[in-house]
């Protein structure tokens, strides 16, 4: 089981660069072998996914913030929806946000591409729980 998780590829999309670095550090602690890509703008992340630059069949987990300028988390999900199926099926998306707005939470949870919602801060325990 653990070996399988080590192969994880992760994409973090968060405009707050401090949170990004923190999340990367926690991920390094929990999955030392995982590869992590960071994006402060959802538009760039989308381009990266669209171009399928990794060119790999590996499954990738996306941690997506909601409140971001230029393109917010929900707008990213709308754009993601328009991608070809064979790209989409490679990704699992988790919302990672400090939002406690009921409207945001239910909107996130009802989105078919969102596996679950994680309230910041991201902890070791939450990360381990994700894998069960």
């Amino acid at each position: 089981m653990i070996e399988e998780l080590q192969k994880y590829q992760l994409i973090l999309i968060d405009d707050n660069s401090i949170d990004q670095m923190l999340h990367r550090k926690i991920i390094e602690i929990v999955f030392p072998a995982a590869s992590v890509k960071l994006f402060t703008e959802a538009t760039t992340a989308l381009k990266h996914i669209q171009a399928n630059e990794d060119g790999t069949p590996h499954h990738t987990v996306i941690f997506l913030d909601i409140q971001m300028p230029v393109m917010n988390g929900f707008q990213f999900l709308e754009a993601f929806h328009l991608l070809p199926e064979d790209i989409k099926k490679l990704y699992t998306i988790y919302i990672v946000s400090s939002s406690v707005n009921q409207f945001d939470i239910s909107k996130a949870k009802n989105n078919p591409y969102v596996k679950d919602m994680i309230i910041k801060p991201l902890t070791k325990e939450t990360l381990l729980n994700l894998l069960h």
Partner: protein, 362 residues
Amino acid sequence: MEKQQKIIVLYIDDEINNLNSFKATFRFDYTILLAQNAEEALNHLNTNNVQIILSDQRMPTITGVEFFEQIRESHPNAVRLLITGFSDIESVIDSINRGHIFRYIKKPWVELDVKSAIEEAYKFYLATSLLDEKNISLQKAYNELNKFAYSVAHDLKGPLVSVMGALTIVGQKEDPKERLELLDMIQSSLQKLQGFVDSMFDYYRLNQGELQIEEVNLEHLSQHYNDIYALEGKVKGIDFSIQTEQTKPFRSDVSKLKIILNNLIENAFKYQRTDATDKFVKVKLLITSELAEMIVEDNGIGIEEKYQHSIFDMFYRATTHAPGSGFGLYNAKDAITKLEGTLRVDSKPNEGSLFTVSIPTK
């Protein structure tokens, strides 16, 4: 505005002669609508903004009181006046007490009674519709306050959560270099928090009390900014210059001028192009007429045209280039408005931004 327009009065009576004599008497004073039955009356109510309704009590299919009860819910703002003979008084009193009718007018009516009743009723109409308007704007303010409280809580929580996260990791890292890195993150998060709290104070001060008008000394102001930003410019490799010219006295609220300048200059520093080698921030303060001009120019990342009208909205952020709360320019704009000034933005992406603020002397 409404005062200059004629009061719109609807009169309901089954006898056509009464209707005609009413119209003949009052058509110069009011806009008169006539109805012979409830159906016609409703028609008028639905198509006109009727302010006052007079109805006869005794009509063949429906009494005046009954009609008023019927329309009370659907047309609550129109003030209701009943015209009735003495024999009906008992039945009417109850209705008045229940609040359906503002006043009654004795039949046969005399011009003076009707006029004074209409004038009184119109005053009541104005007062209640003013109250309605107030209630609507209060409700709106209340909704905005809710939204504001949420956004503020969210923005305060963000950096706090980062600090807590960083502290947890510090305990798990041995490497001193990594620990220092984490402490740096904690520091920048706390600075962000402090910046946000400072903006909140600016917001509070802007909405608090009268303007504090005094003679403005541009030299002092320019010295103040030179002290703060000349050094920061050196550290960050940004050429900071401030130029002043004053040939006329100028009176204004210095604390508000500072809120404007602080935010514009801070943004000019924040939104620089990372790869540029000739970064600059130029400030000009000119008072050569009744208007003070404050110009803040940079050659940073600029603002796309489609975002230019939104950057002054509360909590709006157009870029992830640098951290911000979306509060600064809102406060700057608010301060400019309070000083009755104007603001112009000239900006091109990747070339820079030029903010020009004009403030009249007090």
